[in-house]
Symmetry: C2
Subunit: 347 residues, 2 copies
């Protein structure tokens, strides 16, 4: 511990060259005689030399570091995006560091994100679905390229990669309608992330398209938590004309809905069908296994890295101006939580 780390100068001195030559030998960018290169490389290995990314970047070069700011880590969907970002970064020969912004704690920390990640990294990926208004706007004047991921809350000029919410939700509800359901409830999440309103729009448009009038009594306000799904479902099912199917704005709430239905003695899917959104890992372990909508999380992460790499590499404002939005389609994951409506109940 506390051993002074070995520097480029140490390596250079050990083989009697300048740091310049050692630098060139190690980076392989410029011409160096094969013999010198070998000696330097061997010495570096010998001494356990590892370049200091700070110094590299300070001098205006690349640190070969990408930064990822995330709001929270608790969901498996977040973990999946992070994993794919990490893989894509490694693939590109760079390293990733993650900063947890903890957006739910109130104070928007954009200043800290910019300071920490902006000073360290060659580019920043923002995975802050819950970032309050104005936070992302701050990054429009970043000194390094920034790409936002899966952000729906407000308008932003930031280049963006995100997964569809509207079409997926619409398809889910169409699937339910195809099963004969007419009284389909929707449990919304908090508006906080902007994704729930998109999902609700898909729900309503699917109903309208099928000639079904969306009614307030079948729309319940939740907040993305399992208990909200539970409570909403209790209220929904207590009506004189309860829904025969429930579409929740995320899996957590769909799972809570299933808890409630079981407690009410109702069978899933025979009595009531349930559809979720997100495809969290818990969705495939519930009983019955939950049908849900899946965003292409891995591809979202991968594309975000590609986009930021293009921005780090390119100086052509024209090209970049065209490369500002990638929206990836969702898909339906049909499992066991939905069934055709029963004739009696549907009337």
């Amino acid at each position: 511990m506390s051993r002074k780390s070995v520097t480029l100068a140490d390596v250079a001195k050990s083989v009697n060259v300048t740091t310049m030559t050692a630098s060139r030998a190690l980076n392989g960018t410029d011409a160096v005689s094969a013999e010198v290169r070998q000696k330097v490389v061997a010495a570096a290995k010998d001494l356990g030399y590892s370049p200091n990314p700070l110094a590299k970047r300070l001098k205006g070069g690349r640190a070969n570091l990408l930064g990822l700011a995330v709001g929270y880590l608790q969901s498996s969907a977040m973990a999946e995006i992070i994993g794919s970002v990490n893989a894509a970064v490694k693939q590109a020969g760079m390293e990733l560091i993650i900063y947890v912004a903890g957006s739910e704690l109130g104070a928007p920390k954009q200043h800290e994100i910019k300071r920490v990640l902006g000073g360290l990294c060659d580019g920043i990926v923002l995975l802050l679905p819950m970032a309050p208004d104005g936070v992302l706007a701050e990054f429009e004047s970043s000194s390094v390229p920034v790409v936002a991921v899966n952000y729906w809350r407000t308008e932003t000029k930031l280049p963006m990669v995100r997964g569809d919410n509207y079409v997926g939700s619409r398809s889910a509800v169409e699937h339910l309608i195809g099963l004969g359901h007419r009284r389909i409830a929707f449990i919304s999440g908090s508006d906080y992330t902007g994704q729930s309103p998109e999902r609700q729009r898909g729900y309503q448009d699917a109903l309208k398209q099928a000639g079904i009038k969306p009614v307030k009594a079948l729309m319940s306000r939740g907040d993305f938590t399992r208990s909200a799904g539970f409570e909403s479902t209790k209220v929904l099912m207590a009506q004189s004309k309860p829904p025969t199917a429930i579409f929740a704005a995320n899996d957590n709430m769909a799972l809570g809905a299933m808890d409630a239905l079981k407690e009410l003695g109702l069978r899933i899917p025979e009595d009531v069908s349930v559809f979720g959104f997100d495809d969290e890992v818990a969705a495939k372990h519930s009983y019955p296994r939950l049908s849900t909508v899946r965003q292409p999380l891995s591809e979202i992460g991968e594309q975000a890295v590609q986009m930021i790499l293009r921005r780090i590499g390119s100086t052509s404002a024209d090209e970049l101006a065209k490369d500002t939005l990638i929206e990836l389609p969702s898909s339906l994951v049909v499992r066991d939580s939905c069934a055709p409506v029963r004739a009696l109940l549907s009337s």
Copy 2:
């Protein structure tokens, strides 16, 4: 985007002082006239100045940055530790950056961790339960302080904060024995993390203490996955004298065991009791809710940060030599998955 970021020199020039004075005014370490300080602070805010942590640290100072290396992000237990580390770091007025080592991908990346985090941060917390032999040893010669968390695989001289496995497991099995169970099965995880053997040791000692001989037929080898719990249970229950209780080395496998028992038409806990380890969030959402052992994850993270802070601050080798291991007790979380053994089955 790409706007040159404002430096200390810009701030200094705008109020006609040297960078030295500006630095002192902003850091508040040395004496500066109140008037100058005010002007500098105002100018810094005006210009949107944020200090470059690289430059700070390069000159031998503190970057006020702590690094956390994690192996994976998928489990809620990991997320909980990370969350508490993050909170404790913020509490100390520092910032945390996370590096995902992806230990399962084969090649131990200690070199990269050291290079990236060691170059950037004032200290490193290692949360690498699955790190193969030798990886942690590398960090014993780190240029910055390093603390390991929840590592059990091999011996290491690194200072460490970790949660108990043995006593918790022993208590869990004693709980089962107290319920009258005699044929208690154990499903082990992979030895990879070193935690499973500890848990098995607790299991065996509890049995012996109660005068019950541990038998091979009731010990099944798993790998921490849900499907391993499922398969192991199928085999375990197919015996002529099947267990009346199952203790799994983690919650995933306990949940898999419950899946298998349900599929066999057995009731939990009436026919078979199940006990897990970890208290993952899924444990409280299963049906019936899973009894399990809980490590004090938040406290582990918090203590790890305190320990690394002491190491960053102190230069007294004597003091540090005494401050090298904190082991925190686990506790039982008793829910609904265990019941007294039925007289007939226990014979």
